[in-house]
Amino acid sequence: MDKQVIVSPSPHVHSGESTSRLMFNVVLALMPAFAVSLYYFGVGALIVTLLAVGSCVIFEYLIQKFLMKGNPTITDGSAIVTGLLLAFNVPSNLPWHIVVIGSLVAIGVAKMSFGGLGSNPFNPALVGRVFMLISFPVQMTSWPLPVASRLQYLDAVTGPTPLAILKEGLKNGETISQMGDKIPSHMQMFMGLMGGSLGEIAAFALLIGFAWLLFTKVITWHIPVSIFTTIAVFTGILWMINPETNADPIFHLLTGGVMIGAIFMATDYVTSPMNPVGMWIFGIGIGLLTVIIRVWGAYPEGVSFAILIMNAFVPLLNRYVKPKRFGEEVKRNG
């Protein structure tokens, strides 16, 4: 042979799957929810989202280029996903400087300080969110009401989330039936007509995204389904014990960050277990912790904390929960 051929170990073909394609599909899956939030919150949603995505990408680029002195890999799209998720987890009237600080914490502290994509133990967007929640509790818990003020950004009309209404009401000794109309109906909650973070409210849009992620095989069903099941069963039991002080399971599934958390945050590759059994344990843990924080904790909402706590167990789960090996159930002969 006179020409130089290539020699490489097998396999000689590749599926064509790539990190950027996976991230692109996640971005696509988030688009229905983004469209809904644009419709509900208008200009505020647009500003916060663009700001978060932009600052995440820029921070990642700057840190990789100047602090880590490496080749920036922003083209893999992971910073875009982090930015989107961060924006989806904050109110649409959040002042711009808080968004930028949150992005810096998410990318700089939660992701890059551990070595960048693939090495961070905690979900960057959630770390950013929890940081903002603790540092700026007032701004982070004033929720613009959907549709009410599409053209205002900082001065949008605000109101409480259903979970906050519930927590507040119970604290004042009211029963759920007494709260009555203050709590939105299931259908309203499914459509997202309630106060909340800009991307977490519309359950139907998030479920469309879930279907897309499953269809493109970006994620498997294990984590979301295990979280949904655990929350439904746990709150179902509490509801059956006393429906006057405990909300029904559908309420719990549709409110707060359960949908976005289970579908997009908990399934983050880097911070979730690698095999189905581990995924189930992870999902059940998130479900239990979420309900415990919601029902007995000081915060009305607990998905973020639940996911972050379970993130910490992922290395353990990966280490001790092994996939079932081929030929394991049969005893070795001789």
């Binding site: 020699v7 590759y269 079932k324």
Partner: protein
């Protein structure tokens, strides 16, 4: 619902370009180089010396132990040299080079093409004949067939499984053989059944070969105890353990052999070779080789004498195209890239694939994002990402408890990895190192 194996698996594009091409007989080459080690096990001992005249089918190197195989001359002519020649990896291995003169076969080979159905030999003689004929697993693993047929004491074969899956993309040699030599193959299966003393034989074929399935189903009635099963397409179904799982839903234990669960697996090509050896007295000196590639002028399935240079095969298919990136011996998932086309076809060569440059180069790798795709596609239930890391950090002793030796190097993990990591490269290295550790421990 079609049967398949349950754990993992991938779906590489099939690209069975040469599926419609009948088997052609490749003209005799001028010269052949027959390596003495074409099988797993000890290299055969050379019996001829330079200048000897040999005939087609004559033993030129003798099996050197139980796990070894005879090597026969594939041509008639004069032994030119017994020297080291390049093999497919670029290293030099001992081979017998013969200059071809005419085509004179040894007398006792039956060269007629009539189908000979009745089996005269008993089990022991069949195994002896197979051993003498140098038959090895023709699916690519080249494990000496008589070893698989000699069931160890205390174990019993219950079922014979015939591998007609051909799950590797591109390759079509088994497919053509099933279509064109169906009856011979069936008789071969009956011979194997007698050798193993089993009543049942299952042929597994993926349903991307509907013509072969239909044809074999139409003739299978004539052969007692043989069943044809159509399987769902999924790589690596042609793996011995995966095929057994798909057909009889039993799992070969980790570190065990199929015989541990009463199964023996042979390839369709092997069944055909067994027919020829037992019924026609013809040792293994030729095989079907697929020559294919997207920009090759002609794709074909050739009946090739062992020892023919790969360059001759490619020349017959129109020569190497201008844009050649890689030449692979075997399938695209498990085959070996050749450093040179001046290497001989061996018993294990099932196909030669010519890739274009753009198909040949691997994409640059990025970091592991822990997506777990490698874990979910691994047919053995291993964790390739972990094995890769351990191997890169040279923590080989930690790889053994992670079942690295169960890895059959199917390549599904590397195929699927979105970060293009060379997972299998490092796992293969780890396997070799773990084997070294185990050997050292035994001594």
């Amino acid at each position: 619902m079609l049967k398949t194996f349950s754990k993992g698996g991938v779906h590489p594009p099939e690209n069975k370009i040469s599926a419609g091409k009948s088997i052609e007989i490749l003209p005799l080459p001028q010269k052949v180089s027959i390596p003495v080690s074409q099988h797993i096990g000890a290299p055969a001992t050379v019996l001829v010396v330079k200048g000897d005249k040999v005939k087609v089918g004559q033993v030129i190197a003798q099996s050197a132990g139980f796990v070894s195989a005879n090597i026969h001359s594939s041509v008639s002519g004069t032994v030119e040299s017994i020297d080291a020649v390049l093999d497919s990896t670029g290293y030099k291995r001992q081979a017998v080079t013969i200059t071809v003169e005419g085509d004179e076969w040894i007398e006792n080979i039956d060269r007629s093409t009539d189908l000979k159905k009745d089996i005269q030999l008993n089990a022991q003689d069949i195994i002896k004949r197979i051993n003498e004929s140098g038959i090895v697993g023709l699916g690519g693993a080249t494990f000496p067939s008589h070893v698989k047929l000699s069931v160890p004491a205390g174990k019993k074969a219950e079922v014979l499984i015939i591998n007609g899956v051909e799950c590797e993309p591109y390759l079509t040699s088994d497919h053509r053989l099933m279509l064109e030599k169906g009856h011979e193959m069936m008789v071969g299966i009956q011979i194997l059944m007698r050798a193993l003393n089993v009543e049942k034989a299952l042929i597994g074929i993926e349903n991307n070969k509907p013509d072969a399935i239909k044809y074999l189903k139409s003739i299978v009635g004539e052969y007692k105890g043989v069943e044809v099963h159509s399987l769902k397409v999924k790589y690596p179904q042609g793996g011995e353990k995966q095929l057994i799982k798909a057909l009889i839903n039993r799992e070969v234990p980790s570190g065990g052999l199929p015989i541990d669960i009463g199964a023996v697996v042979h390839n369709v090509g092997t069944a055909f070779a067994v027919y020829e050896a037992v019924q026609k007295n013809k040792p293994l000196f030729e095989r079907v080789v697929t020559v294919t590639g997207k920009n090759l002028p002609k794709t074909a399935n050739y009946m090739v004498r062992i020892g023919t240079s790969v360059a001759e095969l490619i020349a017959a298919a129109g020569g190497l195209p201008e844009d050649t990136g890689k030449v692979v011996n075997g399938g695209p998932m498990m085959g070996k890239a050749l450093t040179s086309t001046d290497v001989p076809v061996t018993k294990g060569t099932s196909g030669i694939i010519v890739f274009q440059s753009k198909e040949s180069k691997r994409k640059a790798d990025s970091v592991c994002i822990r997506c777990g795709k490698c874990v979910s596609v691994c047919p053995m239930g291993l964790e390739p990402y972990l094995l890769n890391r351990l191997s890169q950090r040279m923590m080989f002793e930690n790889m053994e408890p992670e079942h690295v030796l169960d890895c059959m190097e199917c390549g599904s993990c590397s195929f699927e990895c979105p970060a293009n990591l060379p997972l299998l490269d490092y796992i293969r290295l780890g396997k070799a190192e773990v084997n070294k550790i185990i050997r050292a421990r035994k001594n």
